[in-house]
C-alpha cells in the first residue's frame, strides 16, 4: 500500500468517525435522548480516534499515529463494555432506545472493536511508512482536508452541547433536560 493510498484510507476513517458523531447527534436531537455521562465518554473517545488519522494526513503515516488510535479504541471499548455489562441482567431495558435491536453503547463497542481490527490490519502494510513525499500533497488534498475539518467541527459542537447539557457542575446520571437551558424554558 502506497503512502497516498494510506492517506486516503485515513481520510475515510475520519468520515467514519464523523458519521458516528453525527448519528449520536441524530439520537440526541431527533429522539430527544440526552447522552448519559458514560455515553459522553464514549463520544469523546470516538473523537480521540480521529487524532491519529489527522496526524497521518498531515505528517504522513507513522506507526506512532496508529498506536494513538489503538489506545483510544481500547479505552473506548473498555467504557462501552462497562455500559453493556451494567445493563446485561435479564429484564433490564437498557439505557435509551435501541437501533436495529442494539443499544448505542453496544454499537459503540462494535465500533471500537472494528477500529482496533482495522488499525491492526492497516499496520500490516509497511510500504506506507517509506518516504514518498514527492507524490503526497502537503495536507492530503481537498477530500482529506474536508474530513479533518468535519471531525474538528463536530467535536467543537460537542463542546457546546455538552456544556449546555451538564452546565458547570457534574453531569446528571440520567439527564432529562439541558442544565443551562432550564431557566430559559
Amino acid at each position: 500500500m502506497t503512502q497516498t493510498r494510506a492517506i486516503t484510507l485515513n481520510a475515510l476513517s475520519l468520515y467514519a468517525v464523523a458519521m458516528v458523531l453525527a448519528a449520536a447527534y441524530a439520537a440526541q436531537f431527533i429522539l430527544q435522548e440526552l447522552p448519559c455521562p458514560l455515553c459522553l465518554l464514549q463520544r469523546i473517545l470516538f473523537a480521540a480516534l480521529a487524532v491519529g488519522p489527522i496526524l497521518n494526513i498531515r505528517f504522513g503515516p507513522r506507526p506512532s499515529h496508529y498506536a494513538m488510535s489503538l489506545l483510544a479504541a481500547v479505552a473506548g471499548a473498555v467504557a462501552s463494555t462497562r455500559q453493556v455489562l451494567l445493563h446485561i441482567m435479564p429484564g433490564d431495558a437498557g439505557y435509551g432506545s435501541a437501533l436495529l435491536g442494539y443499544h448505542y453503547y453496544t454499537w459503540a463497542l462494535l465500533g471500537f472493536i472494528t477500529a482496533i481490527v482495522l488499525v491492526a490490519a492497516i499496520l500490516l502494510f509497511d510500504r506506507q511508512f517509506e518516504e514518498d513525499k514527492a507524490v503526497l500533497p502537503a495536507t492530503g488534498g481537498a477530500f482529506a482536508q474536508t474530513a479533518v475539518w468535519l471531525v474538528i467541527a463536530l467535536t467543537a459542537v460537542n463542546v457546546v452541547t455538552t456544556l449546555l447539557e451538564c452546565g458547570f457542575g457534574a453531569c446528571a446520571d440520567n439527564p432529562r433536560i439541558y442544565e443551562l437551558l432550564k431557566h430559559a424554558a
Binding site: 448519559c36 455521562p37 458514560l38 455515553c39 459522553l40 465518554l41 463520544r43 469523546i44 473517545l45 473523537a47 480521540a48 480521529a50 487524532v51 489527522i54 496526524l55 498531515r58 505528517f59 506512532s64 494513538m68 489506545l71 483510544a72 479505552a75 473498555v78 467504557a79 462497562r82 455500559q83 451494567l86 445493563h87 439505557y95 453503547y105 495536507t139 479533518v148 471531525v151 474538528i152 467535536t155 467543537a156 460537542n158 463542546v159 455538552t162 456544556l163 451538564c166 452546565g167 458547570f168 457542575g169 457534574a170 453531569c171 446520571d173 440520567n174
Partner: protein
C-alpha cells in the same frame, strides 16, 4: 463539566495535530487520554443507579 473539558481538550489536540507541532499534539493527546481514563475510573468507583 469534566466532559465539556475533555471534548474541548480533544478539539484542541485535533487543531494542534492539524496546524501545530507534532510533539505537542502527541503530548496533549496523552494527557487527554489519561484524563479520560481517570474520569472513567472516578465514575466507575461511584455507586451507580443507571449508566453512571
Amino acid at each position: 463539566m469534566e466532559f465539556t473539558i475533555l471534548f474541548l481538550g480533544t478539539a484542541i489536540v485535533m487543531l494542534i495535530a492539524w496546524r501545530g507541532q507534532r510533539p505537542l499534539a502527541l503530548g496533549l493527546f496523552g494527557a487527554v487520554l489519561v484524563a479520560c481514563v481517570a474520569t472513567y475510573l472516578h465514575h466507575a468507583t461511584d455507586t451507580l443507579k443507571l449508566s453512571f
